[in-house]
Symmetry: C2
Subunit: 758 residues, 2 copies
């Protein structure tokens, strides 16, 4: 063996590391792929031209073996970075370099911060750490992140991976995220990383009533696709220029998405102009195989393999393509140029990442272990949890008075470690539980778990009650976690786990004040809201590596809460009113409507809800015209008409209370325009204003464009309709401004026609 | 993404995991390689027949990409398991499963135990843990272990990886080790693991005076090859049936070993009968390339690639083969059948490991995380360190009296962590330093490092002296470590680092008793031996995960020391008397001779030295005849004549002191027979007798065969010579038995003729 002379990287990385090709002394040195003056397409084409047919086919799966004989190393395309490095990372041994990386909160909590700049900073830090790991051959250059399917049903086990239920919010979030992941287009010739917007499209069900995601055919109207399911993908591909998209397990209206030429080719590539040679589509893991064995869309595996390739999929996560593209080729089910195109796209993407270029000239190649979990990153992880936490109820007991010293901490999240990370998590530098954080904050703490997440055992109740009686205040930290909601695990109930609720009720009957921190995604907390024995309620989701600290910084007032719910909290009975498989967002038979836009019942807490330790007022500086001719609005239209600016709305925000605080400024649109029924309202702009001192005023501007006003029609066209419009500040209507659009309705965007099936 | 339905392994392993092929549903299911009734050769041949030429060439490097299109996964051949899992292991995140495995002492310390059963148990545990990791796709099935080059010069940086300097000792050790690694041949159709005896042959130099191992041409006489450099390899391949051998960086007598057809084909394969289709040879990492670029043995890389293949090397650790075997083939430098043979051997080896067979029928495939670092394994790691520790000096102060409570621990090894593991180490479950162990043993400890391993700083002396003055006893724990001796790092001095020795001398002038634990490999401790201010001296090498505990168990007498030096401790001046590059073991010009067999000076401590806390006597029950006709001895010879039994020598061992103790029974042969000069003596048998109570006697039997008596002649023949022989018990001659061989000398083994070079 020989360590020291080969390279230091070999000595510290696992055997199957993510290595870079040697364009100096390797066999590729004289190939055009190593010519930094050539363009990515030319370079990738030169590389792929060296492959034999068998080598091409061998490199169609996520674990691409490369072509050792020409010096092309293996490359693992499957890397995860949902809220920090996860699957795909080769971790160093404990105590060594690369043994951890920053673990941010789950997107559902970061979404609650409603702060695009925060998201950009988080994504930028994640991709910095990804590059540091990559430079040590411990991670790839692309990641199958973010998950931008709108979280329309609280039962969905993967809702935690998303920023929430609202398509505008997700779009704005993903725009910040992709820029952070991929790096600025303007500063460098190299991409920092490759993000993958997933799962395209209509995927938001794991398993419900025997229906599995692998074979589920999502029936979605064109109108709902336009208004709800596709905006985040349009933003990601067309407007945020993501490098990669993942097609999903499910079918949409009869066609498995990875075989859907209309979705992948006509809409995504041609209509959205997502046609750079280095942009590529991966199938979800085993999704291509599912075309055949779950959807039964083809009668042979070869046909499924070829259909996906011909439809525009470029990579198979799995081994189905390497296995069947050979026989599919022998059956003349695809042209070799189509296979080449898929390879060229992916290797061109690696070219854009500097994979074949000298490390010395690439700033991102200089990132190292010292850039991982830096003090700034650690602070950002804490801040992103604090900023997302939502104050749902407060009788004035919060923030905790400084004379409180004895805490009883009760509940199955008090001593949380990886629980705080949710799913798709990696190795954190530390996991500061609420228990540790309370001790660090100087409290005298008695900890009793009291109840499990979801068992019927009441064995811990007595100890919990005893501890509670002796304390100055009880802080109950519980709710749900990944044992209840996760990938491949949809919920069937959205109630509080019964034993936990029973313990909370008993605690609420004591004279000791009681505060609840609800963890995980939404569960019906209506009884906590109305129970006068509960002084305060916060929601802290999955708060990541420093979650305990974040919770206690909020409870003690070290940080002021300003997060807003990015999802509706429905009453428990909601799950009986609509099926998980019903993709309609508008109310109808056996469907009370979905999200704050359409739900016709009374939510427990509505989308956008969130209190502060202070009060805010907001006033719109009303623009002078309040009527607009539609034709005028389009007289100077942008290339994509929906992106044509409408106006910028100045809003003045005043802190009318006595505590410095952030304020999340939400702007909703409502009115009577377009097809009936009308949505109750739609979020059209938001911003988070930081650190408004008590008694002070801050001015903000919210930009609206024509897409803010438009709606989809039955064909899926995006249309600007005449009618009466009103923008409303915040969920309690702090101010509003009405205006009218006059003239004839005008189509802003029309999709290519979808071929009729069968 | 999809975790739960694919397999649980995917969710927990890194992206480029060591996966098994799917012989049930995968594309290979109907190939003969998946037919468990066929023999390994037939199965591997059927597999390789599916490869295209390019795929064959792609799979000639250590990181084999497999052939995804036929469902053959990637396989990483480079796995290390020197004294526990190391490079190649994919570790779980800290706190999770598979985040560590048992880390035993370095072989040099385990060798000092002179206990083959212990070595078997250690190797068996390592391969159990390797299988557990493999079953979780975290490790390969073969490992490039053991290192069995005899450790003939104390400067060699990798001597720590070997069991010592004596060829018989190494042979006996490796026999136990290989059986432990590979599993019993009799119990299962499957190999447990594949061991790799390395580095074949004549490799024991990293870098000396500008000569680097990569291009070093070791000039070795046939006699020395026979008597010193090759016995461990003959044992490993011919007699212990190892599955894999590694050729080395260096050349032997002008031919780089990986291109040496005589070594690899004529000797190893044909002469030693190492011809199973599943036995294979790997080159050391980049050794094949070195044939061309360091040895300049060929003028083109293609010729070097082909030479190694044609000589019988089957795998390239590196990417040289994948890069150049294509153009070499185009130049007709080898036949395709030769390439096929190399692939078939390796895949047949995987067949023998059950790689292609259902997991359910394979006991080794059932091993799991619960089999890693079990209580038994943890105890074994501690025992193997205790059993190796050698007591070098003791004025009666050891074991420590029970009324000692205040310890001053001084030295750069007191707070050792990974230092205790030496090189090629993995993640240990814990690393109990001497400091921790002393505290666990209930001592009141003051720790002052006092001196670095090798700096000139004396800044810590004052604090060390102060602490020493206040203590009941000073325990100094220091010496050398991997910062001084390691792979690619030979020493140039074998003295104590000067600053440490200076501190020890100052401590020895105090009235506080002083004990030294010397760590790392041998350094000249002659001044410690003669210094009356030093009460006791032990050598503890690199004692592994529980090294601190082992040291304190010895010092306190909880365990009684019985280890023996497996290497000669030379005086410092030795390094000036002979060059590292001089391969002659016999004395000559500028060479005082090597090892206890030939060194003509006075060692500081000789090979086999080691005290106990008690005294032993040993008597040979002399066999009745003491003269033998050589022709009679061979009248009923074994297939390999040298393995013909000679006799079994009964030895009675008595513990004549007052402390229960193990006793290492060493039997040396001396006499006047064969070519002159005669070696001083040669170890021919040993055993470790456990737990002999004070005043008790134990009977042992030592087996001798004709190889025990034979010597090499100038041609490298192994010859039984007439002459006067004597076996001697222990280094102090506790008993001896003389006998004569009469008649005509007889050749026991004659090597195939080596072709004359150019």
């Amino acid at each position: 063996m020989r360590f020291s002379k080969l390279s230091s990287a070999i000595a510290i990385t696992s055997a199957s590391a993510q290595k870079f090709p040697d364009c100096v002394n390797g066999p590729l040195a004289n190939n055009t792929v190593c010519d930094t003056t050539a363009d990515p397409y030319t370079r990738a084409t030169a590389l792929v031209s060296l492959f034999t047919l068998a080598e091409k086919i061998n490199n169609t799966g996520n674990t691409s073996p490369g072509v050792p004989r020409i010096g092309l190393p293996a490359y693992e395309w499957w890397n995860e970075a949902l809220h920090g490095l996860a699957f795909g990372a080769s971790w160093g041994a404990s105590g060594n370099n690369f043994s951890y990386s920053t673990s941010f909160p789950q997107p559902i909590l970061m979404g609650a911060a409603f702060d695009d700049e925060l998201i950009h900073n988080v994504a930028s830090q994640i991709s910095t750490e990804a590059r540091a790991f990559s430079n040590a051959n411990r991670f790839g250059l692309n990641y199958w992140t973010p998950n931008i399917n709108p979280y329309k049903d609280p039962r969905w086990g993967r809702g935690q991976e998303t920023p929430g239920e609202d398509p505008f919010h997700i779009s704005s979030y993903v725009n910040a995220l992709v820029a952070g992941f991929q790096g600025g287009l303007d500063d460098l010739p190299y991409k920092k990383g490759v993000a993958t917007c997933k799962h395209f499209a209509g995927y938001d069900l794991e398993e419900s009533g025997g229906v599995q995601r692998y074979g589920f055919d999502a029936k979605i109207s064109f109108q709902d696709l336009r208004d709800y399911y596709l905006p985040s993908f349009q933003q990601c591909a067309r407007d945020s220029n993501v490098q990669s998209v993942m097609c999903s397990y499910n079918a949409v209206n009869g066609v498995p998405t990875c075989a859907d030429e209309w979705l992948l080719q006509s809409l995504l590539r041609e209509h959205w102009g997502w046609t750079d040679e280095d942009q590529w589509i991966t199938g979800d893991c085993r999704a291509i195989q599912n075309i055949w064995d779950s959807h039964h869309y083809t009668s042979t595996p070869e046909q499924a393999a070829a259909d996906a390739l011909n439809a525009g999929t470029d990579l198979d996560c799995g081994t189905f393509w390497p296995t069947y593209l050979g026989s599919a080729y022998n059956q003349s089910l695809y042209n070799i140029s189509t296979l080449d195109r898929s390879l060229i796209r992916r290797y061109a993407s690696l070219v854009r990442l500097g994979y074949f270029d000298p490390a010395s000239v690439q700033p991102y190649r200089q990132l190292s272990w010292s850039d991982v979990s830096s003090p700034v990153a650690q602070k950002l992880a804490l801040q992103s949890a604090e900023d997302g936490i939502v104050l749902l109820k407060n009788d004035g007991f919060l923030p905790l008075s400084s004379n409180i010293t004895n805490l009883a901490l009760i509940g199955p999240w008090v001593n949380a470690t990886t629980q705080m990370q949710g799913n798709y998590y990696g190795q954190a530098p530390y996991l500061r539980s609420p228990l540790v954080a309370a001790q660090n904050a100087g409290f005298n703490v008695t900890y009793v778990q009291g109840a499990d997440i979801d068992s019927t055992s009441t064995a811990g109740f007595t100890a919990a009650i005893t501890a509670a009686e002796k304390a100055d205040v009880v802080i109950y930290i519980g709710g749900i976690d990944d044992s209840i909601e996760d990938e491949a695990k949809d919920r069937t109930t959205i109630s509080w786990p019964a034993t936990q609720l029973s313990l909370i009720n008993q605690l609420s009957n004591l004279s000791t004040p009681l505060i609840i921190s609800q963890m995980g995604c939404m569960i019906d907390s209506s009884s906590l809201l109305t129970n006068p024995g509960i002084n305060a309620l916060i929601w802290a989701g999955y708060p990541g590596q420093d979650g305990g600290t974040a919770i206690f910084n909020i409870l003690t007032g070290k940080s002021a809460p300003a997060g807003r719910l990015p999802i509706t909290q429905y009453p428990s009975n909601y799950v009986n009113q609509v099926s998980m498989t019903d993709m309609n967002v508008k109310p109808g038979e056996n469907n009370p409507g979905r999200t704050y836009k359409w739900y016709n019942g009374t939510p427990v807490f509505e989308f956008g809800f969130g209190l502060q330790y202070t009060t805010f007022n907001a006033t719109i500086i009303s623009p002078s015209p309040n009527a607009f001719e539609i034709s005028d609005l389009l007289s100077n239209a942008s290339t994509y008409k929906d992106l044509t600016p409408f106006l910028t709305l100045p809003v003045r925000v005043s802190n009318t209370g006595s505590t410095k605080s952030d304020y999340v400024l939400l702007l909703f649109l409502t009115g009577s325009f377009g097809p009936t029924p009308y949505p109750k309202k739609s979020l059209v702009a938001y911003t988070r204003i930081h650190d408004v001192a008590a008694g002070k005023t801050a001015n903000s501007e919210l930009k609206l464009n024509l897409a803010s006003l438009a709606r989809g029609n039955e064909n899926g066209d995006l249309v600007l309709y005449p009618g009466d419009y009103k923008v409303v500040v915040d969920i309690d209507g702090k101010d509003e401004w009405g205006f009218a659009l006059n003239g004839k309705e005008m189509v802003l965007d029309s999709w290519p026609e979808k071929p009729k099936l069968g």
